[in-house]
Symmetry: C2
Subunit: 301 residues, 2 copies
């Protein structure tokens, strides 16, 4: 039995195991139909951040997907806590997942017949953009070929694994030497990227798309921090043309907080450096991670 938890841990079928031993069956509809509701809560300096908010959204995603895993919030919270404590990780990416499972009635093609199940896993903290890149200002590619999956096809507010559009967009971005990608929608508005929301700052107003995107918890934190900084905020459609005329652009993610953007395609912002407001919000985000009211301390003993 392997007891190396340095690369992460999983809670699966009631047991806590090293991450390399956590698997799901190749016929699980969670895989074959990408039929999963999930969420990711960050652990920072030994505590979950805004755990209640992440659990609430996870429950909403499960409800949207009509998943019933037979575990209440307290049991899920205990599973996450015990798993992270066992891993010993003090800064972690913590995923909670509800998968459709397989039909109880053999041969059924009815999603209502499946035995849904819960599992969770954690790995060392993930930065969607490396900190040194974020601090210099990330270069973001706005996809030319790929449009974000519309919200009347797959609901982006129920956090899900449908990343085919992001992956094709990432190939497009990486081939051109960009760090990551943002996808437009079919109406010419900006949506989001793989693992993050996007913001434009224009004349003291922080604007972020409201439709066709995940309503990120970090997005919410950033809007709160922006208002605390005296900025106005607005959630609405953000046309690509307006993004390109912004004073500053930045991203938000539970994997790295606020990520300044110095370039979108050929357009450079803030003279090709991280913008001052984005950097201030980035610092404010890392300070907020220390807020005892929002922290759920983990007992590693």
């Amino acid at each position: 039995m392997d007891h190396d938890f340095s690369k992460g841990a999983a809670w699966i079928r009631g047991e806590i195991v090293p991450i390399a031993q956590a698997t799901i069956g190749v016929t699980d509809w969670g895989l074959t139909h990408s039929d999963v509701a999930y969420d990711v809560v960050p652990v920072w300096e030994g505590a979950f951040f805004r755990l209640g908010d992440y659990l609430e959204r996870f429950e909403a995603s499960m409800a949207a997907g009509r998943m019933q895993v037979g575990m209440g919030r307290a049991e899920i919270e205990t599973a996450l806590h015990d798993m992270v404590a066992t891993s010993g990780l003090r800064a972690a990416y913590v995923a909670m997942v509800a998968a459709r499972g397989t039909p109880i009635i053999p041969g059924s093609r009815d999603p209502r017949d499946c035995a849904n199940h819960f599992y969770a896993w954690c790995v060392p903290y993930v930065h969607v953009v490396k900190p040194e890149v974020a601090e210099a200002g990330a270069h973001v590619w706005l996809s030319e070929d790929v449009r974000r999956i519309p919200d009347d096809s797959v609901n982006p507010r129920a956090k899900n694994y449908h990343w085919g559009d992001f992956t094709q967009g990432l190939f497009e971005a990486k081939d051109r030497g960009f760090e990551t990608v943002v996808l437009p929608d079919h109406a010419g508005n900006v949506t989001e990227g793989p693992g993050f929301n996007i913001f434009a700052l224009k004349g003291g107003m922080v604007i972020t798309p409201d439709r066709g995107v995940l309503h990120g918890i970090t997005r919410r934190t950033v809007l709160e921090l922006a208002r605390a900084e005296g900025l106005d905020t607005c959630e609405r459609a953000l046309p690509v043309t307006e993004l390109m005329e912004a004073d500053e652009v930045f991203l938000s993610s539970s994997g790295g907080g606020v990520i300044p953007v110095s370039r979108v395609g050929e357009r450079r912002f803030s003279n090709g450096a991280a913008g001052p407001v984005a950097l201030r919000l980035r610092a404010a985000y890392f300070a907020a991670l220390q807020d005892p009211v929002r922290r759920t301390e983990i007992d590693y003993s």
Copy 2:
């Protein structure tokens, strides 16, 4: 060690194992990003049907997803053959899968850094619509709430696991007592359903959508069989209004061949029974499965 292959078998990491033992890791991007290219070839009466065509499409799907699994067509064919032979299944649903894997460089978010891998699995033959339902004419729901994922978001011709739109559509259909669902696109055309293409027959012309759908091998077989029956065929956009005015409607799937449809929503076709042309094509499909030229016999000894 379990040696019960009655429920199916898998070829994974070079080994053939009972299906229940075939798993992939919970951090594999094949799962977490639904980043998979796959295909399914039917085995009927001890032989693969049109194996070369399915392998060709699988290779095209892998190329579209920029997957390299380090196995050529001959090796994949050998893996499939040995797996089905070991299972003993003479009628089977045989899946071949290329998964993105995980980054070789820890912490990378670049899909180019991942170690792609191949696996395969087979289970007893799957009917997407039960034969007794198909023969009476299936009741199909045309989704009111969900639109098929557009082809500039996720390419439907590269067979993939992005089924979120189908799953929501299936809930809508099943809640209303329908067998399965067909999704419209954003322009009011019919696309496809979970595991099948759709056809309309009008005045001797067989029409099937060409864009925004998988180009099914069974779809191709049906078009060939229709022409052999003296019918004209046409691949083009099929407006929902035109589908509703058809003489007959039917589906095609490697999981069941030609499936007559007696009802789409409130509209009944062929007086609420399976249509005569659809039944003739259904019989022709099962006859075609016997065609030695298209069969690759499996050596079970």
